[in-house]
């Protein structure tokens, strides 16, 4: 197995992927961010402050535990890394805590963010409230309607939610609008990106903040079993929870499996399986895989899970795919829904629909995994409370 590099090159490239495709106006801000982050990364004071917040405010380390009834049913060991037990209910806050600390360190007083389902928006609003910073969150008008509860949460936390009416009125358009805001207010504003996407240094920085998941999981798994998992399975939208859990295992003999949203089926065109389609392109600041038409226009993604509903994917995942360090598969809406129920019934854990995609793949591949004597670690990236209403409506609509 090839030894994986620790990070991108000076230009922010992972193999040929990544880079900085942004207006010239932002280039000095990205340089400033790169050096501020490099200093913070090696500053024990910064790291101690972040570690204390993750422990006492976010509630880390999150547990890792064998899912006994699911394991019995599939006939091999399945372990769950419980990112759903973080404050605010998902892994997103690992990253927003880090970025808000960095924003304070850089003297930026205004925070902006994009959000799709609202989980990153809530995590940003939470971190901003904790430090008394003003936050504005861009959210597609469609998502504002679909995720009314998260909109209210953000407002409770003191953030302003700005509905975006351009394009497909979803996450990609919210991201465009956040970048436009940043170009306009670059001197005062810190842009908190929610996934391992965007121009360098964001994919690296977000991965570093999320890699606490894999660092803990590697220690915990070893402590419980005396060995490492054979497979790590995690959902991939932009790819922050999956890169966060993969990264610590990148040079271990462990199969890394990223699960994309197959929507109504990759063959229908209504999906978010960026890597499965495999066309390279440039969006939101980096070169990666992208859903696009024959003219290079971006195609809106589709998934029952709003958190996976993004037409791009982080450049480091594109690199892991190209070097075959990780494998990527698609799970449909229907398969994810079945797993949403299955995990609720078997383990008393209602998973986020994103995480249900990972569970679904393990159930789907159980025969092969059983014959391999697999020890599977699933990154349960978030809890499903946010999805309960949508699932109920969806299923009532079907019957």
């Amino acid at each position: 197995m090839a030894v994986m590099k620790d990070g991108p090159d000076e230009a922010g490239r992972y193999g040929g992927f990544g880079g900085r495709y942004v207006p010239e106006t932002l280039m000095p801000a990205l340089d400033e961010l790169t050096s501020a982050y490099a200093e913070a990364k090696t500053d024990p004071t910064f790291q101690a402050e972040l570690a204390a917040l993750l422990k006492d405010y976010v509630g880390r380390p999150t547990p890792l535990r064998r899912a006994d009834r699911l394991s019995a049913k599939v006939g091999f060991d399945v372990y769950l890394k419980r990112e759903d037990l973080n404050h605010t209910g998902a892994h997103k806050i690992n990253n927003t805590m880090g970025q808000i600390l960095l924003a304070r360190r850089m003297g930026k007083t205004r925070i902006i963010a994009e959000t799709g389902a609202g989980q990153h928006g809530v995590a940003t609003a939470t971190a901003a409230a904790l430090f008394g910073l003003s936050a504005q969150v861009y959210m597609g008008e469609e998502d504002v309607k679909r995720q009314a509860l998260n909109v209210y949460r953000m407002r409770l936390l003191g953030a302003e939610v700005i509905p975006v009416q351009s394009g497909s009125r979803t996450l990609k358009d919210a991201t465009n609008e956040a970048i436009r805001d940043w170009v306009t207010n670059v001197r005062s504003t810190f842009y908190v990106i929610g996934s391992v996407v965007g121009p360098h240094p964001y994919p690296m920085m977000v991965r570093d903040f999320q890699s606490v998941i894999g660092d803990e999981a590697r220690r915990q798994f070893h402590a419980v079993t005396g060995t490492l998992p054979t497979h790590i399975v995690a959902p991939v939208g932009g790819g922050s929870n999956s890169m966060g859990v993969f990264y610590a295992f990148r040079n271990d003999p462990v199969t890394l499996v990223g699960i994309e949203a197959g929507g109504e089926g990759v063959e229908t065109g209504k999906h978010a399986a960026t890597i499965a389609v495999g066309m390279k392109g440039i969006l939101h600041g980096s070169l990666s895989y992208l859903l696009q038409d024959e003219d290079g226009q971006i195609i809106p993604a589709h998934s029952i899970s709003a958190g996976l509903d993004y037409p791009g994917v982080g450049p480091e995942h594109a690199y892991f795919h190209d070097t075959q360090r990780a494998e990527y598969h698609a799970i449909t809406d229907q398969e994810a829904l079945a797993a949403f129920h299955e995990l609720s019934l078997l383990e008393g854990i209602i998973p986020a629909l994103e995480s249900a995609h990972a569970v679904a793949w393990v159930i789907k591949e159980q025969e092969r995994l059983r014959s391999l004597g697999a020890r599977v670690l699933i990154n349960l990236s978030g809890r499903g409370d946010k999805d309960v209403e949508a699932v109920r409506e969806y299923e009532e609509g079907m019957h």
Partner: protein, 265 residues
């Protein structure tokens, strides 16, 4: 005057000789209707444009404000395709002042960088402006543009460092100075920092400097024309085209003529 007669540099040499700044209006291809481009380009030529910027519509134009976002969306909904724009440009460019394309990077990348630049050159295009391709990322595109005989036009923003400006000395064509920190759009006032930005650019390099973003009225054009070598007007013109309906070519001609009048010495 045809585009084969004049290089981009040649245009600025001529306008400088006339004691005025070059006028560079912008239109989005496929807007407001699929096949309006030839008529609009003809109107801009009649009105006294010196260079014309044709925008290739993109689904996610993150450097553009509401007016140009709307124009791009409308153009794409009209069924505008890159190959059709190239074909139309080839016909138009024979009888037009020099044409440059403004395009985002993904359509270029998806078409194939070298293939796109060659196709643009064969359509008579003299230069490319790519707002999401910063100079540090542009080596391949720059090299291919040089090889095909067209200019990659770099941008300078108010936030740009002196080192960035100095690194543009290899650029052919002209420098696109962004008047403000922000996106394209119609604005009431022009940024007070323009004059000092132009002066800062000229301390390091000798290329002509055209200023764009937010220049909306003949009075704006006059004031920018007094300090820069070129004046780029996009959103204000596209908004007039939007408002004019079937009279778009006439309205565009009248507005651009008024801008040109403001630039005359």
């Amino acid at each position: 005057m045809t585009s084969s007669d004049l290089t981009l540099r040649g245009v600025f040499a001529r306008t400088k000789g006339e004691g005025r700044a070059a006028l560079i209006p912008y239109v989005t291809a496929g807007h407001p209707h699929l096949n309006d481009l030839p008529q609009l380009i003809s109107a801009l030529n009649d009105a006294g444009a010196d260079i014309i910027e044709i925008g290739i519509p993109f689904s996610d134009p993150l450097a553009d404000g509401p007016v140009l976002q709307h124009a791009a969306t409308q153009a794409l909904n009209n069924g505008t395709k890159l190959r059709d724009i190239l074909a139309q440009t080839k016909e138009i460019s024979q009888s037009s002042v020099p044409i440059v394309y403004l395009t985002y990077m993904n359509p270029v990348y998806h078409f194939g960088v070298r293939a796109f630049i060659r196709a643009a050159a064969q359509s008579g295009v003299k230069g490319l402006i790519i707002p999401d391709l910063p100079w540090l990322e542009s080596q391949e595109v720059f090299h291919d543009c040089e090889a095909e005989g067209i200019s990659l036009i770099p941008l300078v923003a108010p936030t740009s460092t002196d080192a960035h400006i100095a690194s543009l000395e290899i650029a052919t064509g002209f420098i696109y100075g962004v008047s403000l920190t922000g996106v394209t759009g119609v604005r009431q006032d022009i940024d007070s920092g323009v004059e000092s930005m132009v002066a800062r650019i000229k301390r390091f390099i000798t290329q002509p400097v055209a200023i764009g973003f937010g220049i909306s009225t003949p009075e704006h054009a006059r004031r920018i024309g007094a300090v820069a070598d070129g004046v780029i007007v996009g959103s204000a013109l596209v908004r007039i085209i939007d408002d004019a309906g079937d009279e778009a070519p006439q309205a565009a001609r009248a507005f651009v003529a008024s801008l040109r009048e403001a630039l005359n010495p």
